[in-house]
């Protein structure tokens, strides 16, 4: 795809958003019947499915921790997910890294001590990608965990902030992300006290730009949190004459 010269023109980005706008997000919880908890998130052109199994018996047994549960996360991109051919899906360098960081995010949030010697699995499939999939994945996985009834301290929201044409911009898409002069900073925060659970940086930022980054992320996180709780409420309380109207949107 041809790269445009300027990514921000008159304060508007390529897809018509301002610098502080998120892409349109919609979340559906409890979309799968066999998983204990699940969520489907549509974040702009990203489409991410997260499923949770557990707590269940730890396998292999020697991995089990007698004091707490262990979390396993699997992030995987489908071969048809991106604009360029992604090749055969399966673990590669990138997906192993992202699986690991998703695991670390939720190890800080889930009350693991309640389920000793067991494991909680988080499976994430990227059905379509357009930049910022790890943030969408963490947001969806948080909803899926809550839907599975797993006790957590917090809901987790994640969003990327970056530098495009020397401006701090919220929620980068693929073109902005891959522009060579910018910076890309995915951040995950705990909804309750704004603890930083994930912080990665690709590129260079000034010290003064950091404050701007965090204020933008915290504002966006509040908006995402509202959507997450709405998605969960919709599953159980969307009613019509006492009957559940729309419970299972996928099947």
């Amino acid at each position: 795809m041809e790269k445009p010269d300027k990514l921000i023109v008159n304060g508007k980005r390529l897809d018509g958003r301002g610098v502080d706008d998120l892409r349109p997000i919609s979340i559906h919880a409890h979309v799968l019947s066999n998983a204990d908890g699940s969520a489907l998130i549509r974040w702009g052109n990203n489409l991410v499915l997260a499923g949770v199994r557990g707590p269940r018996e730890c396998f292999p047994r020697h991995m089990a921790d007698p004091f707490k549960a262990i979390i396993r996360a699997k992030y995987e991109m489908t071969p048809f997910s991106s604009k360029e051919e992604h090749g055969r899906s399966g673990p590669n360098r990138r997906s192993i890294e992202i699986s690991k960081l998703i695991r670390h995010v939720f190890e800080n949030v889930v009350l693991l001590e309640k389920y000793p010697k067991s494991q909680i699995d988080i499976f994430i499939e990227i059905l379509q990608s357009d930049g910022g999939t790890r943030c969408a994945a963490i947001t969806a996985a948080s909803v899926a965990l809550a839907d599975a009834g797993i006790p957590m301290k917090d809901m987790v929201q994640a969003v990327a902030v970056g530098k495009v044409n020397d401006e701090i911009v919220l929620d980068l898409n693929y073109i902005e992300d891959s522009a060579s002069d910018g910076a890309d900073v995915p951040i995950a925060v705990a909804g309750r006290n704004k603890d930083i659970l994930l912080f990665q940086m690709d590129g260079i930022l000034d010290k003064s730009q950091f404050e701007e980054v965090f204020s933008k992320v915290f504002k966006a996180a509040d908006k995402i949190k509202e959507l997450q709780t709405k998605a969960l409420e919709e599953v159980y309380f969307a009613t019509e004459k006492g009957e559940v109207k729309k419970r299972l949107p996928l099947y």
């Binding site: 010697k117 301290k153 159980y236 309380f237 419970r247």
Partner: protein, 201 residues
């Protein structure tokens, strides 16, 4: 209806209640659920074994010292043959009591009663109180109207004996699970059962 979600700050009077945690003198919820009579009712989740609970299990394996029993938990329950008055076989459905839960949530069982021919249904354990009802009103209503024998274990395993109205019972249980979060359920289920039984005849 008030819903709660993980990390939502609650009133201080909720301190120490189940499904809450406190940090810096503030009380927070740790599950997704609803607030009813100042108590958190979770909408999903696993069975939390407690001593004295009556549960239903399926015998999975016979060992030389006893049996291991599937009880809808990550680890299987163990039943010593010394505590068992009857000889059990693999596949038997038993109603038993939780004798002891150790620190890694392994369950030992006692006092098994063999349940005869029938079907087993696994439902979310958080919805068991709704299936049983206040003072067993719901389960007695279903038993009375259909003439089936139903046993509900606290771990979410339900046993129905072989009877002619079994499909209606299964339909009713599914309706209860779908509408568990709404009030006035018992009367609605009564009407539903009347209609179903009339349709059948």
């Amino acid at each position: 209806m008030d819903t709660v979600y993980p990390g939502l700050q609650l009133d201080k009077s909720m301190y120490g209640q189940p499904y809450t945690y406190s940090e810096n003198g503030k009380v927070y919820s740790n599950v997704f659920g609803m607030l009813r009579n100042d108590k958190i009712v979770p909408l999903q989740g696993q069975y939390d074994p407690k001593r004295g609970d009556i549960i239903i299990g399926v015998v999975n394996e016979e060992k030389f010292s006893g049996y291991s029993v599937y009880i809808n938990l990550p680890s299987e329950g163990s039943l010593s043959s010394r505590d068992s008055r009857e000889e059990l076989e693999t596949g038997d459905v038993i109603e038993c009591e939780v004798d002891y839960v150790n620190e890694i949530k392994q369950v030992s069982l006692t006092n098994p009663k063999k349940l005869g021919f029938g079907s087993v249904m696994i439902i979310p354990p958080v919805k068991v109180p709704r299936v049983i009802g206040k003072q067993m009103s719901m389960i007695n209503l279903i038993k009375e109207k259909t003439g089936c024998d139903i046993r509900m274990g606290k771990n979410g395993i339900l046993w129905i004996n072989d009877c002619k109205n079994k499909p209606i019972v299964i339909k009713t249980i599914n309706k209860i699970l779908r509408e568990a979060q709404f009030s006035g359920l018992t009367s609605r289920i009564g009407e539903f059962l009347d209609k179903e039984i009339k349709n059948k005849e």
